[in-house]
């Protein structure tokens, strides 16, 4: 009995860390290409190590590829394996392609009469009522990636303290065939995006790159990015960088070495676009290739 509760405690303690530590990414086989019949192959996964698929594959349902003329092109040879998804793109146009997994959904939490009672009991016994160490019964219900319809069908009628968070996430990468262009990079205007000052396929070690970070299409100050170079499996430190957007929303990064870089940021605000939600969580990931001098 005692062992069980210890185990539960350990799992509960791990959960928040685990959720934060997993990294989502889409990585191209190469980002700068040229030719008459060019193909680039992509992997998409959620992992701890960059860029080694070691956890779960990325679902391809919402992955889209935008061609240099702004049109959507088809993902070819798409498949989802145990640890990663993979697909190909045939780059028949010159210019820059944007490959993105854009997700919007609702994260919903609520209390049930049972969880409220358990919380009251925990409080009386001096235990935490939520988070690590709280008895499992204190947890009410929750939904992730839910739709508006789920709100009425999957949330029980006796739910209390309903918390609805709108989530808008974007995981993306860019590849360029021949000369780069910016049509596909035009902001969608929802969630967090990177607008190029330096083109995302024009990155070189030792040079400073500048991006304008947008939230809902507007420059966003004070967003902190975590930046990690791939190949973490073969070194003993993450060697992560951090950079924060300035008053104009500009993010400046000097790449210490060539490689594939993972950039991530997230922010929470109280500006959901649907009345049922009280807050909003935005997240953004880009995979960028940095070439040697």
């Amino acid at each position: 009995m005692k062992r069980t509760s210890l185990l539960v405690l350990a799992i509960a303690a791990l959960l928040p860390l685990g959720a934060a530590a997993h990294k989502q990414w889409i990585i191209p086989s190469q980002a700068v290409v040229n030719g008459n019949d060019v193909w680039v192959t992509f992997d998409g996964a959620v992992s701890n190590q960059l860029f080694f698929p070691d956890h779960v594959p990325m679902r391809l349902d919402n992955v889209t590829a935008t061609a240099p003329d702004g049109s959507r092109i088809e993902l070819k040879n798409a498949s989802t394996g145990k640890y990663r998804s993979t697909f190909d793109l045939q780059l028949s146009q010159p210019g820059t392609y944007r490959i993105a997994n854009a997700n919007t959904g609702l994260a919903v939490r609520w209390d049930t009469p049972g969880s409220l009672a358990a919380k009251a009991r925990a409080q009386a016994e001096g235990k935490p009522v939520s988070g690590p160490g709280a008895p499992p019964e204190t947890r009410g219900g929750s939904l992730r990636n839910a739709s508006l319809e789920d709100l009425s069908t999957k949330v029980p009628k006796d739910a209390r303290n309903l918390q609805v968070t709108q989530t808008i996430g974007r995981v993306e990468t860019f590849v360029t065939n021949g000369a780069p262009n910016q049509t596909a990079l035009a902001p969608v205007g929802q969630g967090i995006e990177l607008a190029p000052v330096t083109h995302p396929n024009d990155l070189f070690a030792g040079e400073e790159a500048t991006f304008r970070v947008l939230v809902d299409g507007q420059p966003a100050a004070g967003l902190e990015f975590e930046i990690v170079r791939g190949g973490t499996r073969y070194r003993n430190a993450q060697e992560d960088l951090s950079a924060t957007t300035d008053a104009e929303g500009l993010l400046r990064v000097t790449w210490p070495e060539p490689g594939m870089y993972w950039l991530e940021t997230s922010v929470q605000d109280d500006r959901p676009s649907i009345p049922q939600a009280t807050q909003r969580r935005l997240s953004y990931v880009a995979t960028l290739e940095v070439l040697p001098q």
């Binding site: 030719g35 008459n36 021949g178 001098q293």
Partner: protein, 171 residues
């Protein structure tokens, strides 16, 4: 004012009379490797701001295949590709040519060359970039000033994909 004008006219008249010569020699080293392919080489000029100024030579596999085989690997000449290659319509007359074997290759130009004649007076860098399939990449730079008022020469020594590169300018 009048004096300045005369000087300007004078220098304009002086140059076309005798074409300055630009000689570049590029040594491609002999390599003992399991799999050898001739390198792709770009010889080009950068301005003091690092911006592309002129293309002198690009050697690549110009034989075409359905895949665009030769041009497929041009982005591996990374600096040349970003500065110029990716916006060029290849082949370029008098600039692009087939890959060359190991040995020393002499390139001669004069200042009437269409790429050189457009250079504004100033400081420039000659860049020689070489990359080899399943091999390495090397980039050498030699600074010079333009136009050529006095003889200039420069030399750079490669260590992997390039041997000696020399630049000789004669007015």
């Amino acid at each position: 004012m009048r004096i300045q004008l005369t000087v300007a006219l004078g220098s304009l008249l002086a140059f076309p009379a005798q074409a300055a010569e630009v000689n570049v020699s590029v040594q491609i080293p002999q390599l003992k490797v399991a799999e050898y392919h001739r390198p792709y080489v770009a010889v080009f000029v950068e301005g003091a701001d690092g911006k592309h100024a002129a293309n002198l030579a690009v050697w690549y596999m110009s034989k075409d295949t359905s895949e665009g085989h030769g041009t497929k690997w041009l982005p591996d000449l990374r600096q040349w590709w970003r500065r110029s290659g990716r916006t060029l319509e290849l082949p370029v007359d008098g600039v692009s040519g087939p890959t060359r074997p190991a040995g020393t290759h002499q390139l001669g130009f004069d200042d009437t060359h269409p790429e050189l004649s457009k250079l504004a007076p100033g400081e420039y860098t000659l860049v020689v970039e070489a990359v080899r399939e399943v091999g390495g990449r090397e980039l050498l730079k030699i600074p010079f000033s333009w136009p050529v008022k006095a003889p200039q020469s420069g030399r750079a020594q490669g260590s992997s994909e390039l041997g000696t590169v020399t630049l000789r300018l004669t007015p």
